[in-house]
Symmetry: C2
Subunit: 515 residues, 2 copies
């Protein structure tokens, strides 16, 4: 079946040359293949750009597994490393110098197709030539060795760095950025912005802090340290520092023994699959969840300043909801004057077939804040409302406020995404991959349950009855793949994952299921 | 007076060559000057290494101020930058390409002696050749462009990176490291380690989590999310995320409007200066503070899992305490089975005349955890007790767990500190500078009050009656200098700050005071 699909689309392909728009690329120019094809199980013909010329011409053509994983060299290295560094979560000891594109090498020279990509955080392939070029540039050198305290002493180039790169992909309706260090950091700074904005509105514009507020804040007491909340969703993941962890609801192991704020959670829709068979049930489920949100926003014991949500709950188990759900959520947050923070740490930067996953929602009014990290290789939050800048200096501040070296990498990633039409690639490769998985799930309905992520690029998942064993066996056939939640297999390939990689992945999955 | 001092020490100097122990250095070999001298106002002769040959041969010989600061070009750049980035905390728009060593250049080509150093975070000078070499190395390239999820997929080189660098300077008694992104992140991860350890001891080794704990943690409720506290000190600063901010007590502007945990604070000693005139009062003050610590540890409404303290309270106003105070603090925390976390984010990496400021205390038993950031150019925490590794994988974990690129820089900073004997340099240049300031404070007792930091390297501060005006005027004479707390001028020069820089600084201070 798979080979038929592949052959069919090949047969109707024609090659066009995509112009090279940057001098950074050291590899040969990319020839993409543009074609129209009727995708299996899709009812409409779609315009399609897929690459039969690989983005990485020197990539291996297939995985190569020579030893068990971890192999003998890796085992020794793990034992040594464990003396000084906790290795219980270790997956593979890697050889990054010999990794390329979608392929990761380990210390025993095993080479795996990587559809986990450093927990969804590698965007444009290992040893990407454009990243290599910017990493060797004079701008990178100075950013690395003269690290500024950006809030006090920004370089003269900082405005251009922001405007020409990081802000050029700002979500629609947002035009400001606060740069940070990690997803947790980005979310917590966003929460702080929401709290300061909340109190600004309550206090009234221009009203000074009272003496009581100033003094009580120093004692961690009301009214200076107010009782305010961020609402999140069951199974949501927003990070592991104290504020972000209070909104994280993925697994007990993330939270147990750590003090947390008494903040509320609403249910996130638990949709039934295939979606077309459960239209009414799923609509009812989403409506019930929105009702629960409204109940919390009106009845929680303290005011809720913001709602934070992932477009696709990732760490918690790959749960999706419809654009209608998110539109309703936007409406209910606006109705109750509560900010909407969209956490695009895992979904952002192209993997869902849109640059930002919330672009799928067609909101009338944008989210108030959008946070990012992972594939951006840096972190931060976007906003549009100028009042989300606190009313005084030094309220949202820290020494580094991000890392200009990592921002330069994000800017180059953005250029690569544009130059190679990588968002279009994930949309189309994702559709191809989804259709292949849909075929497999018909063939092996017990092994591939609740297939989800249709139309969401390569952001695809399913439930597997013996998930952890499945993930482990996938390594033996040369695929590095991850899980999420209790039972989901989550696909998080890079943006440079192409149809020929999808074919290897599909064949490998079938091989493991059959075995 | 200053010129006499300088002349006298010059007259008795002799030159020796310090061997170059790394190939990274691109500048010419450093010739240091070793001498014995009786320092003014010091009662003992000290062994002294000071550099009359500068570490940066191409450094300017003095500041050069051509325009007001910000000058015309900077003003335009600030207006443009403000469209997308909050500039109210902006101090100078910088030209890092043309900054060198201890001198920072701005966008209008003003060149200032920098004794603030990016809020105490530049260790070995702008455009340091050794950092430049490592930033251009193949190791840096791969660390930048193939950013790993270190907990899952560390590179094979990671053990050596840790052991040969970051762990080679681990505080005495500590031999493990957890790497992170920033000072706030390092402190919060340390707090999490303390909470997990606390509950591990309560639960008993090997005891499983109860079902009630697992479920309640998901609801942010006891017993899974326990009520436990970190104790800090008044005027302490430990970061600005939600957990770290709950321990920060520096200024209301850092805390107001942000929800916080109900955690306790004890008074930090408020010593009177000069120390030799207030021996009994200061001993009593420190004993009273220790008594308050013990009172809190025994009577707070919930258990205190750890005490966090800065060796020198920095952001809060440069407050010092004696080694005896810290020895007593260690004793009282041990007596009550409470962890001692030493926050060396600002004090660590050489500026106090020791590599770690707490090396001054001669503790019988080391701190449980030491956190670092800033001059390390990366962040994290050290520990020694193996039980501070949580009892299960994935409890202390996040996607990146630090940045190997920044760790490579720290490792090179460590080599530079050793090669150039920079800890000895800060001890001796600090003593020279302190003595010069002591002279000035005798001459201008109203302008330089409560001079402090004797014997603490270049970590020197004093109170100024019109501090903010003083800091501003220092720019007009070519010195970039910072404040802390309400009224303190804080000196935070780099580790490559030498006697000839101290002379410029002292002369500039006198010039501003006179004017």
């Amino acid at each position: 079946m798979l080979s038929t699909l592949r052959g069919a689309s090949r047969a109707i392909s024609r090659k066009v040359s995509i112009p090279v728009t940057t001098k950074l690329q050291q590899a040969r120019p990319i020839h993409n293949t543009v074609r129209k094809h009727a995708v299996a199980a899709a009812n409409v013909a779609v315009d399609s750009v897929s690459s039969y010329e690989p983005y990485f011409p020197n990539e291996p053509t297939k995985p190569s597994v020579k030893t068990e994983i971890p192999g003998p060299k890796s085992k020794i290295a793990i034992t040594e490393l464990d003396e000084v560094f906790d290795t219980r979560s270790l997956n593979m000891i890697c050889d990054y110098e010999n990794s390329i594109g979608n392929y990761i090498s380990d210390h025993d020279h095993n080479v795996l197709l990587d559809v986990y990509a450093q927990i969804a955080s590698i965007p444009v392939g290992y040893n990407n030539p454009a990243l290599s070029a910017v990493a060797s540039s004079p701008e990178m050198l100075t950013a690395l060795i003269n690290r500024p305290a950006l809030g006090n002493f920004p370089p003269a180039s900082w405005m251009n760095t922001l405007k020409s790169g990081i802000l050029s992909v700002a979500p629609k309706g947002l035009n400001q950025v606060f740069t940070g260090m990690s997803g947790s950091d980005a979310n917590e700074c966003a929460y702080k912005a929401a709290f300061m904005y909340h109190r600004r509105r309550e206090r009234g514009e221009g009203a000074p802090f009272t003496e009581e507020e100033l003094q009580s804040a120093m004692n961690n007491k009301k009214p200076g340290s107010p009782e305010l909340a961020i609402m999140s969703f069951k199974k949501g993941f927003h990070g592991r520092l104290f504020g972000s962890l209070s909104t994280t609801r993925s697994k007990p192991i993330h939270k147990i023994d750590i003090p947390s704020f008494n903040w509320p959670q609403a249910r996130f829709p638990q949709l039934k699959y295939p979606l077309e068979d459960f239209v009414a049930e799923n609509q009812a489920e989403e409506a019930a969840c929105i009702a629960e949100v409204e109940e919390i926003l009106t009845k929680w014991h303290c005011p809720v300043s913001a709602v934070v949500i992932e477009p696709i709950q990732s760490e918690g188990g790959d749960f999706h909801a419809s654009p209608k759900f998110f539109q309703d959520l936007r409406a209910v947050t606006q109705k109750h004057n509560v900010l909407l923070i969209v956490d695009e740490v895992q979904t952002g930067v192209g993997a869902t077939g849109k640059f930002w996953a919330h672009d799928h929602w067609n909101l009338q009014s944008p989210p108030d804040i959008v946070t990012f990290s992972k594939k951006a290789q840096t972190a931060g939050y976007y906003f549009g409302n100028p009042q989300l800048r606190p009313n005084m200096a030094y309220r949202q501040f820290n020494t580094w406020m991000g890392d200009p070296a990592r921002v330069l990498l994000f800017n180059t990633i953005i250029k690569e995404v544009e130059r190679l039409s990588l968002v279009q690639n994930t949309a189309e490769t994702g559709e191809y991959l989804y259709n292949g998985l849909a075929e497999l799930s018909k063939k092996y309905p017990e092994e591939i349950q609740n297939l989800r992520g249709k139309g969401q690029g390569t952001f695809i998942a399913w439930d597997s009855p013996q998930r952890d064993a499945f993930l482990k066996k996938m390594k033996t056939v040369g695929v590095n793949i991850g899980g999420s939640g209790e039972s989901a297999v989550r696909l998080r390939p890079m943006l440079v994952f192409q149809q020929h990689h999808a074919n290897i992945l599909l064949e490998s999955i079938e091989k493991v299921i059959k075995a």
